[in-house]
């Protein structure tokens, strides 16, 4: 179907909106409520207004579906005036708030204000024109209905920045099915919030912060805490960095998505005071060895006729997914692998094995992780992740906070020289690196499980049918007799991202229709590379670039199987002895809690 926009012909598909066509073709239309990851809003921001040719009525391009012979105009005096006034109305609410705002410089509203050259706050009379009583009233008015929420470890909210675009409501409902947010109140008191404005009680995935155009929802900013830890001279500062961060951090410094900036990260961290920079990718390999061992154990038990074995086994490295099971499906918590996440495994190893071998008192260690994830902040605070009252991970900062901190320190990130992670707990395989993408944990686990079971090399390391972005991806892996002479069998696996898809699997289980042996779940779109702490903006295209970079990196690595990682092997030889052994059970495995009464 062809439509005409500003007298030029463009191709379009049935069901598309005019806004879709414009965005694809680089025709500038401002919008605050629309987001590429979400269904259309109700057309609430009224900024994407356009006109159908020869019709004076203004219409929202996000709601106007293309039809044959449609001709639209996207710029004229009325359209400009309408966008400007509506933008000014939103902007007026933000008078004087930018300077102290976390999103300063990366705020969609601020960017639009710049684009439309709004410099004065037209609708807000200058405060000096007010008398005392009026000033007090204005103050009361602006405080009335202000809601801030810092009641959870991961996400902060402050509705004075909110523009009521409803993106957070939609992503929470449509993608994650949690429905934590709703539009509340009426008239000027309309605000986005939780039920009864209670503190948030969700899975803390942070997707709402990813889509928020302003600073109304952000990660819990702990840059100051980081500075505090770094300035503590009594402590040895040990960092770890998650696999996906090296593929996304560059975006914060102006690089295209998918740029691999691994070598700059240790340099930057050492520059700001890190004593050791370890790699979560290393412990991702460790997780795989433990998790594959657990899977094999469950399979063997099952083959021996043990009917109590819980299938499918779920991955447990995504803290939001774990929280989702604990809160909404506690009856299935035993299905979660008992293996801790890579962050927590490395945290435990640092404060036991590493501190022991170096004769450092663990009290003098500050263990800090850089994660793509808001939920990791919660995970680090879980009771099971503490030993004798001391947390294995002392502080988690997200990719965005890390970048903010580097900017604050005026570090010219892209010009830094290349350095390596500290190799003691820093070497990794390709299997660890693909943890950053949906399907990565499964693929890594299969590489190890297959070879451990069969005692032969895999014919091909690439499990292509579980890659991609389909909500639920299913594969069957044939385990041959092989050298170890196991019973021949088929393992059925599924890879899932976004909670809406995980819910489908859980509902299948409830109906007894789920015959998978192993299921990987990541709460965020495309897994950690689309995590709630990653750079914004995000959309399918950006995530595709990040994903491709990750798999490319894997394909180029000399070692691509976790159990072949020499650093992992050494750790077992020197300390852990064997996967699933006594030490491993103590340090690398955990238990889950029924949290359903909380909701």
């Amino acid at each position: 179907m062809q439509i005409k926009i500003n007298d030029k012909i463009y191709d379009s598909q049935k069901g598309e909106t005019v806004l879709d066509v414009c965005q694809r073709n680089g025709i500038r239309i401002p919008t605050l409520c629309n987001h590429a990851d979400l269904l259309a809003s109700g057309g609430v921001c009224r900024l994407c207004l356009i006109k159908v040719k020869d019709n004076s009525q203004l219409m929202t391009s996000c709601q106007l579906v293309v039809s044959d012979g449609l001709e639209v105009v996207t710029e004229d005096a009325d359209i400009e005036r309408a966008r400007r006034i509506n933008l000014e109305l939103l902007w007026a609410d933000h008078a004087g708030k930018c300077a102290h705002c976390l999103k300063n410089g990366n705020c969609e509203l601020q960017n639009l204000a710049k684009e439309y050259k709004l410099d004065v706050f037209d609708f807000v009379p200058e405060i000096k024109k007010f008398d005392k009583e009026q000033q007090l009233r204005a103050l009361k008015e602006s405080l009335k209905g202000r809601i801030t929420d810092n009641g959870n470890p991961s996400i902060s909210r402050d509705n004075q920045y909110c523009v009521e675009c409803s993106r957070c409501i939609r992503i929470c409902k449509e993608v994650q099915t949690i429905e934590e947010y709703s539009m509340n109140g009426r008239s000027i008191h309309t605000s986005v919030g939780t039920a009864c404005n209670a503190p948030m009680d969700c899975i803390l995935c942070g997707q709402c912060a990813n889509v928020c155009p302003t600073a109304a929802i952000t990660e819990k900013n702990e840059v100051e805490k980081l500075e505090e830890l770094l300035s503590d001279r009594s402590k040895i500062k040990i960092f770890q960095v998650a696999p996906s961060v090296r593929f996304t951090l560059g975006e914060e410094f102006g690089l295209e998505p998918g740029n691999f900036v691994e070598e700059k990260i240790p340099t930057a961290l050492r520059k700001v005071g890190a004593d050791l920079v370890f790699d979560t990718t290393f412990s991702a390999d460790l997780t795989i060895v433990e998790e594959a061992h657990e899977l094999i154990g469950r399979i063997e038990k099952f083959l021996q006729g043990d009917e109590t074995v819980k299938f499918p086994m779920f991955t447990s490295c995504c803290p939001s997914w774990v929280l989702y099971v604990e809160k909404y499906w506690p009856e299935y918590k035993e299905h979660l692998s008992s293996a801790k996440s890579p962050q927590q495994m490395l945290g435990a190893i640092i404060k036991t094995y590493y501190s022991g071998s170096k004769k450092i008192d663990k009290k003098n260690i500050a263990s800090i992780s850089v994660m793509p994830c808001t939920s990791k902040k919660f995970e680090a605070g879980r009771e099971e992740m503490q030993r004798n009252g001391s947390k294995d991970i002392d502080l988690v900062i997200t990719t965005r906070e890390f970048a903010r901190f580097l900017r604050k320190r005026k570090i010219d990130f892209l010009k830094l020289e290349d350095q390596r992670f500290d190799q003691a707990l820093g070497a990794y395989s390709g299997a660890g690196i693909i943890f950053g993408s949906t399907g990565g944990v499964m693929e890594a686990a299969l590489r190890t499980a297959y070879e451990t079971l069969v005692c032969e090399d895999l014919p091909s390391l690439d499990f292509k049918n579980i890659r991609g972005v389909k909500g639920v991806r299913v594969a069957e892996i044939v385990i041959p007799k092989g050298k170890c002479n196991v019973k021949e069998m088929k393992i059925k696996v599924a890879v899932v991202h976004e909670i809406r898809n995980a819910k489908k699997v859980l509902e299948m289980m409830k109906k007894g229709e789920c015959d998978y042996h192993f299921v990987e779940v990541m709460a965020c779109p495309s897994g950690c590379l689309g995590g709630g702490g990653q750079p914004v903006p995000t959309n399918a295209e950006i995530r595709r670039k990040r994903r491709e970079a990750i798999y490319y990196k894997d394909s180029k690595l000399p070692i691509r199987k976790s159990h072949k990682n020499p650093a992992v092997k050494r750790l077992y030889e020197e300390f852990l002895k064997e996967p699933g052994g006594e030490k491993s059970e103590e340090l690398l495995h955990t238990k889950y809690i029924d949290r359903s009464s909380n909701i």
Partner: protein, 149 residues
């Protein structure tokens, strides 16, 4: 009546949600956190969805309970009959401005239109409607409520 009694009166159907909310409001004077969660559970909805609907309506109080709620009609008809003066009188009587909720005992609200315009100006105090109110009558009416304060 307990919340359970109210809930048991209604089938779990979408059109019963607002009815339950209204009943709870009538019985308890407000629909707070606890009720929202109980209603949500009964209707198998998310609490956010229940709160979102409840907080939309004027007659549902999800915030705080006041001992005295004075609603003065400010529709155009009552306005031409000097409702602005009545509002001023009420403000003077309680020593607080319309809309202020800092005192937490009394709230004065503007109301849109009760649909009794020919009897206007209309003032409603704790759900009792007063017709043809004049600024002079305000004191007498409100004196009857000061015990609630």
């Amino acid at each position: 009546m307990t919340i359970q009694n109210i809930l048991m009166k209604y089938e779990v159907k979408p059109e019963n949600l607002l009815r339950v909310i209204k009943d709870v409001q009538r019985e308890f004077g407000m629909v707070d956190d606890k009720f929202i969660h109980q209603i949500a559970k009964y209707f198998e909805m998310k609490p956010a969805a229940v709160f979102s609907a409840a907080s939309f309506y004027d007659q549902i109080n999800t915030k705080e309970k006041f001992n005295i709620v004075v609603k003065v009609c400010d529709g155009a008809n009552c306005c031409t009959k000097k409702s602005a003066k009545i509002i001023k009188e009420v403000e003077r009587f309680f020593g607080q401005k319309i809309g202020d909720s800092f005192n937490r005992k009394v709230i004065i609200e503007r109301e849109s239109c009760f649909g009794f315009c020919s009897q206007g100006p209309i003032m409603v105090v704790n759900n009792v409607m007063y017709e043809k109110v004049t600024p002079e009558k305000v004191d007498d009416i409100l004196k009857g409520y000061t015990d609630f304060q």
